[in-house]
């Protein structure tokens, strides 16, 4: 009798776990990452900036990482926070960094770059774009069907 009960319970657990996985797949929000490299091309003697797929990337190149989001559900989504760790090998580009909410301590504290400090051997100093470990975007609400793209610029170290 006891063995049967255990079998029934474990069967119940298994059947509960399965819907949880499918709920994960049917999330109301989708995120799609992309990256482009900014190249300067000369056309008719004029320098022009173009965004191209990063087939050839070397240190010093400027990359634009983007994350497209969309509320695919039928209900509004609230407290939507997209967090993006800065990958090893790139630094947040100084250009445009002041418009982002960033962290220089691995995501523990957040703020505008100008308000953040980092500690080094000589004491605290003003944080620079190269110190940034994470960027994030906070959107209070996404209506059903709402979409957008979040971007940050990075330089290959």
């Amino acid at each position: 009798m006891n063995k049967l009960l255990i079998a029934a319970v474990s069967g119940l657990l298994a059947s509960m776990a399965a819907p949880a996985v499918s709920a994960q797949a049917a999330q109301p929000v989708e995120l799609k990452g992309d990256v482009k490299v900014v190249k300067v091309v000369v056309e008719n003697g004029q320098e022009k900036r173009v965004l191209i797929d990063p087939k050839v990337v070397v240190p010093g190149d400027k990359l634009i990482f983007s994350t497209a989001y969309r509320n695919t559900g039928v209900e509004a989504v609230k407290d939507f926070v997209v967090t993006n760790p800065i990958p090893a090998g790139v630094a947040l580009a100084p250009q445009g960094a002041d418009k982002l909410e960033v962290s220089v301590d691995g995501g523990k504290t957040w703020g505008r770059l100008a308000a953040l400090k980092v500690n080094n051997a000589a004491g605290p100093r003003a944080a620079e774009a190269g110190d940034v470990t994470h960027v994030r975007w906070v959107l209070p609400m996404l209506a059903p069907g709402a979409s957008g793209t979040l971007t940050y610029n990075a330089l290959v170290r």
Binding site: Q27, P28, V29, E30, L31, K32, G33, D34, V35, V37, P54, K55, V56, V57, V58, P59, G60, L63, F65, T67, Y69, G73, E75, A76, V77, K78, D79, F80, V81, V82, T83, N84, P85, P87, A88, G89, V90, L142, L150, V156, R157
Partner: protein, 322 residues
């Protein structure tokens, strides 16, 4: 070994690009940069999180090089070979070998040095060690240099026979990435470290630098004078008279006379006066021993060794007329 392009043009190009070479090589070629974003949210009463796909960028190989002449004061070139030192730095972000070209015919040269060999500092001690450091044969590239690594290069040259004391010359060493060079941004598909492409950087992946040398040569002038003292207090060359010979060696120039000997034969009809050999007024023994001179019935030989320019050496000896 002479490059076909104008040297002045290359030197100017190097000066223009120098500031671009200051930054370090950066992320290693082949590194994968991977970006993933995560979102948290609340929907109704439940909260959830979602992760984006991961985008990956592979860092390609940047081809860059810097060359510097390390012989800051012109090397003095005399009779023996001169070692000119250069440093070669891989300012790219992947391991790379470089082809070296020596140009001895730099514009403005008063003489063109004779190239003997190009040697790399195999044991990394910053000193030219003949027989230890690797001699590059013509067309042979350097060993691979790690990103941000430096290699010291020794260019061994000698003076041409036509060089005159005090003339100056420059020797140019050019280094070019083996993978390729050219306009910055030129791509060598699939030839980068780690499976990516190789891309020419701001240095054009070819750079050069000059070292200077100056001919330091010496000329030797030898004069001989004789003074006769006869037995009667006069100066007549009669039998029994003693002749004092004075040999004056004058070395001039900025270099030195190597292994300089003053030799003379005892004239026929005279006999060497034992123990009369002197160098700069100091007596020398006649035997072949530790002092500089030796003398016999046949002649004298004084070994002055290496004598610097601007030095005068005086040798005297006496003979008696038979």
């Amino acid at each position: 070994m002479r490059a076909s392009w104008g040297t002045a043009t290359v030197a100017a190009l190097g000066a223009m690009l120098a500031p671009g070479l200051a930054h370090a090589a950066g992320v290693s070629a082949g590194t994968l940069i991977q970006n993933t974003a995560t979102a948290t949210y609340t929907s109704g009463t439940t909260s959830g999180s979602v992760t984006s796909n991961t985008v990956t960028v592979r860092v390609d190989e940047l081809l860059d090089v810097a060359v510097a002449g390390l012989t800051t004061t012109p090397a003095l070139a005399g009779a023996s070979n001169v070692v000119l030192e250069y440093s070669l730095t891989n300012t790219g972000n992947g391991p790379e070998a470089f082809n070296l070209v020596v140009n001895t015919a730099v514009a403005g040269n008063q003489f063109d040095a004779v190239l003997q060999s190009v040697v790399v500092d195999t044991n990394g001690n910053n000193t030219y060690d003949p027989g230890v450091d690797q001699v590059l044969t013509s067309g042979q590239p350097t060993p691979s240099i790690a990103a941000d690594g430096s290699l010291r290069v020794f260019v061994i040259v000698s003076l041409p026979g036509t060089a005159i004391d005090g003339q100056t010359s420059q020797v140019q060493l050019s280094a070019t990435a083996v993978t390729g060079s050219g306009t910055p941004g030129t791509v060598f598909a699939g030839q980068g470290q780690g499976g990516g492409d190789a891309v020419v950087g701001a240095s054009t992946a070819t750079q050069s630098a000059n070292d200077a040398l100056i001919a330091a040569l010496a000329t030797v002038a030898l004069t001989k004078a004789a003074a006769v003292a006869d037995p009667f207090g006069g100066t007549q060359p009669v039998p029994g008279a003693v002749v004092t010979y004075t040999l004056t060696a004058t070395v001039s120039g900025t270099g030195q006379a190597d292994n300089l000997h003053v030799t003379d034969v005892i004239p026929a009809g005279t006999t060497y006066e034992i123990g009369t050999l002197t160098l700069d007024s100091a007596a020398l023994t006649d035997g072949n021993d530790t002092d500089a001179g030796e003398a016999s019935a046949a002649g004298i030989d004084v070994d002055l060794g290496n004598v610097a320019g601007g030095t005068t050496k005086v040798v005297t000896f006496k003979v008696k007329i038979d």
